[in-house]
Subunit: 297 residues, 2 copies
């Protein structure tokens, strides 16, 4: 089984061509829905009383929501704007709301999960919650600049407590204080994790383990609509695929990184979660096949 | 046969750790030496009376220099500084010297070349000189921001007169006025060239033809010493490999793009041309094999 822990949000997304208000969002939402095309993931998170039935229905359609707590107050809100290239995002506002006091607990039914994804949560919380699982075969965490700047030592500790770290290129540089991504990955591995996956947006990803690097270009996209959630969809697709294979063989992990890229490429094709919620499994398989042909030489 | 036309220079390279003055450089120097590991290229260029015997010896060791004119005056000089990440270069000074009045002529012995590489020269000169070849099977040109800013229409005309364009990502965006590299490549192809190769530095390259994209990640490097000439070595390696196969089959062109990446990765390992002049053919073959294993999934 796979468990995903992280934020469920109302997102306001501003691109040069459109503003979408109060869309279903959040790192865990994207990751869990993305993973759901490979396995049915359990989701741990919190929503407020304002969380509408329609969004609850979307979650229920894709994931096991027994771990989603309905708390008094308003759902976490995020508001961000993209620049004209859709590659730089500025945060306009974050309202923690119910997320602020959330004390996540792993439901009994999720404790035996072999695969666990900890999204970009408070690193102290991630480090604590991973210990509540009894049977972890492969754990993965993400982080963001906010935690790197405010709780760097806790981020480092968290990274030593999981099997793999998935992180953006710019955040990997910020965290490790180096410009070279290979040096950055090596440093993160020194902190105790076995695998580092650096996400490079339109340039794909780099998977590091031992002395090996597996670069995987992005599935090239001419029309990007909304990059929100691409990284979370990457992580969800990657660990979802691994979980479906119930394997941590390196050849499977390499394939999983490619599935991560594929899921990220779907995520950016529409606003909000609609790039991935409209998918069928054969769409993913087909794009994986096209990808394989694309990179062949 | 392959002919390379472009600049031969004295380079002053300033990195945060070292300054190298009056090193042998120039786009055509890098491209021709890189290509020489696949075929013996003919070189068209000009040097001044100050060009030392030692540099002439390096050129003679790798290329056919019957097309190199020794003119009255000083050799072309370039002086540039890299930032701390080695990814941004600022031009401190350019002295055209003998390059200013150079009227390139294709030597009789080179006219039958099936493969022609026109480096980042004046686009008007490139468009004129390609017509002096009788038997071209595959021509390729590069350009730089200087020509895009000063002679954009001539750059566009040049691109329509060759089979393929190799260009940096930033320059492709500047030239086509778009941020998306797929849109940029399509626009360049509309101007009449069949293949576009966009070089993305540490992120590798994208080869475009018809409706197809072949992304090829860079051979990942932990220690980059000097990026000077990496793009020219890429282009030289690519067209050198094609010329050695005497083929323009698409499968060969894809392999050639990988060889381009490989040659670029060697170029950055040492200052100046020494990253490639010290190579032996088996080194290249070996790295190509490692690359193939690296990207496999």
């Amino acid at each position: 089984m796979l468990t995903v822990f992280g934020s469920i949000a109302y997102d306001t997304i501003r691109t040069p061509t459109k503003v979408v208000r109060n869309a279903l969002g959040g790192a865990a939402t994207y990751a869990a829905i993305s993973a759901s095309f490979f396995v049915k993931p359990g989701l741990i998170g919190v929503v407020g009383q304002d969380f509408p039935k329609s969004y609850q229905n979307i979650l229920d359609r894709f994931v096991d929501t027994r771990g989603v707590v309905h708390a008094k107050g308003k759902t976490f809100r995020y508001d961000g704007s993209y620049d004209s290239t859709l590659s730089l995002r500025t945060t306009n506002k974050t309202e923690l709301n119910v997320l602020g006091d959330f004390k996540p607990v792993v439901p009994e039914e999720y404790r035996k999960s072999e695969f666990v994804y900890l999204a970009n949560n408070d690193p102290v919380q991630n480090t604590r919650i991973i210990k509540e699982f009894d049977n972890v075969k492969f754990s993965m965490c993400d982080t963001i600049d906010f935690w790197i700047s405010s709780k760097r030592n806790d981020v480092i500790k968290m990274m030593g407590s999981v099997d793999s770290v998935v992180i953006n290129d710019e955040e990997a540089k910020l965290l490790t204080k180096t410009h070279n991504l290979i040096k950055a990955a090596k440093k993160i591995m020194e902190w105790g994790t076995k695998y580092v996956i650096i996400k490079k947006g339109e340039h794909g990803s780099l998977l590091f383990y031992e002395d090996t690097i597996f670069p995987s270009p992005a599935f090239s996209m001419e029309d990007i609509v909304d990059p929100t959630g691409a990284g979370d969809s990457f992580a969800g697709g990657m660990i979802g695929y691994l979980s479906s294979k119930n394997s941590t063989k390196i050849s499977t992990i390499r394939e999983a990184a490619v599935y991560g890229n594929i899921m990220g490429s779907f995520a950016v094709e529409k606003y909000g979660v609609y790039g991935i919620t409209g998918l069928k499994r054969p769409d993913i398989k087909k794009r994986f096949g096209r990808y394989k042909k694309m990179v062949h030489f």
